[in-house]
Symmetry: C2
Subunit: 344 residues, 2 copies
């Protein structure tokens, strides 16, 4: 009787231990894969390893939930940037829409070429030409008016290849990474060379990132009053922040005041951001998206003889630095099971 | 029998209705007052009315939890700013500490007067003199080195009147307001004319506000590498953002990208921030702290013949604007039961 009881207790205890382990195991298996659009492999694993490492209390890389920061470049990292940045598509469409009010543009470049749709001439635009286009289309109005123009354009415009709204061309695997990190306490920031106000106009709805977590190249604003005496902010033709290259870590410090633990980019403009993230220590995760899938998206960059691109330049030097510093290069072709949510 | 049943049901129904109302009432009474350091009156009531108004789903002033933003000036609004800004006290102490390494300062103003403790000369310092002091003490080092200097100073320095750590001189009623707003879904931001990095060094511990929610006047940074090839940010002697007057709403837009619904200030430097907050509509709350309590803190400003102050100037024009625009003026003397947590 006593033996039976003891036996029973041992069996029960074993059952319990086995039960707990089995239950934990089953629970782990039952959990939905947070990155279903990623193919299994070292790149996907580096992301989940990072999340576990940083969340392990008492571990050398533990970061408190409040300090968890992840930064993402936008063009070419979160959505397509070919055949040219979508913000440029917006600006060109605006030039055409504004042309009737600017008859003088018909004879003056860069406007003349845009209105005429002269692709050969547009391909030769200088930085100064692009600045003229940006200032003509992005300034001389209130902040609210500009934001409304962008939202209206995004609701109507379509990309030239898939003929879909531009916001359809966000990368499903990156949406999953952002969601996965946020579920683990991270604040996700966009740190873009593109215009801060442009990205803010759609980022909340498309990425789930609120305006205060968008850091971008920014025009100055001028506080003034409208005719009714109400405070407004006007957009003058003056660049305040050039959020590219060194500007990225400088603005991360300006806006966030601390090192991120994870940084995602895809071009030389992201190099300093990844270096600064790594300098924060704490087992940081640095990743670069390599566009090597011409069938499903585009192919450009240093690897396997891909053509170089002026948009989203990924040099051999950056590739070499990624190797030497232990950054992960994401192959769209190999690592992404699905690129866009509209794929079958 | 049936009559008895009906009667019973009516009584039960009444009991239930009364019970629910009574229970709600008791629950409301039982709730701890979120603003115990405020005296009851219209000013305190304006805060709780605001919180209820903005949180009322379907009401005309409803704001979703994600969009709830409240901004606070720092000097004179969250902590004392007399006899001079505490950041200036830091800079003057740094000049004295650095003097042995700068023998040339003994003969050159403004440094000479600071080292000699010549208060008469220091009272006449120009903006250019102050800039020299700030650049000498705030630049030429990494961002991390500067932050460490501020933290070290705050841990050791004492104010000249109460001989307490400067961080003891935060206003208990304002800590309660910030806590109350955060408990109701608000993100609380500091928007200060003072140095962003200076305030970030203590704001998390003192106010519960993380670095990314501190907007302040900011020096530029320069991305570079240390001798070990590690990415660092140096602080050059160059102002990037002057976060005062019009700079406040402009930087709120730069950092947050939306209108706050509540703004707290205490001087002419906060005027445009309050105007911009009000322009966002949504039943916004604008408040100005009036320093009218020389016994418990300081007295300066427009009301009741208080002396004017160069530090935290509160002009009659600002007072008049507050009246005409329906902003609340907080009398420290009348509205605050307790100013500092160390009061008995």
């Amino acid at each position: 009787m006593v033996a039976a009881l003891i036996l029973r207790r041992v069996v029960l205890a074993s059952c319990c231990a086995v039960g707990i382990v089995a239950s934990l195991y089953a629970s782990a298996l039952a959990q939905t894969d947070p990155l279903p659009s990623w193919n299994d492999g070292p790149v996907k694993k580096s992301i989940s390893d990072f999340v576990v490492r940083v969340a392990t209390q008492g571990g050398p890389d533990f970061v408190s939930a409040q300090e968890r920061i992840a930064v993402f470049d936008n063009d070419g990292t979160l959505w397509t940037e070919q055949p040219y940045y979508f913000q440029l598509a917006f600006a060109l469409d605006r030039i055409k829409a504004m042309a009737p009010q600017h008859p003088e543009w018909k004879t003056v470049d860069p406007f003349k070429s845009v209105i005429a749709g002269d692709r050969a001439a547009m391909a030769k635009f200088t930085t100064k030409d692009l600045e003229k286009i940006v200032f003509a289309t992005h300034t001389g109005m209130t902040t609210g008016e500009f934001s409304a123009l962008v939202k209206d354009w995004l609701a109507k415009a379509h990309d030239p290849r898939w003929h879909r709204p531009f916001t359809d061309l966000v990368y499903q695997p990156m949406l999953e990474v952002m969601q996965y990190l946020r579920a683990n306490g991270y604040k996700t920031y966009i740190v873009t060379g593109g215009g801060q106000e442009f990205v803010r106009a759609y980022a909340d709805q498309t990425y789930g990132i609120p305006p205060e977590q968008i850091i971008g190249s920014a025009l100055d604003t001028d506080f003034t009053y409208n005719d009714a005496g109400k405070a407004i902010l006007m957009r003058p033709p003056k660049l305040l922040l050039n959020n590219n290259f060194s500007g990225k870590p400088e603005d991360i410090y300006l806006f966030i005041g601390q090192h991120p633990q994870a940084a995602f980019g895809n071009s030389t403009g992201d190099r300093e951001m990844l270096e600064y993230t790594q300098a924060g220590g704490k087992g940081a995760l640095m990743m670069l998206v390599l566009h090597d899938d011409p069938a499903r998206e585009y192919a450009y960059g240093p690897a396997e003889g891909l053509p170089a691109s002026k948009v989203g330049t990924f040099t051999q030097a950056l590739y070499d630095e990624a190797q030497s510093r232990g950054w992960n290069v994401i192959s769209m072709k190999k690592d992404w099971k699905r690129i866009f949510s509209f794929e079958k």
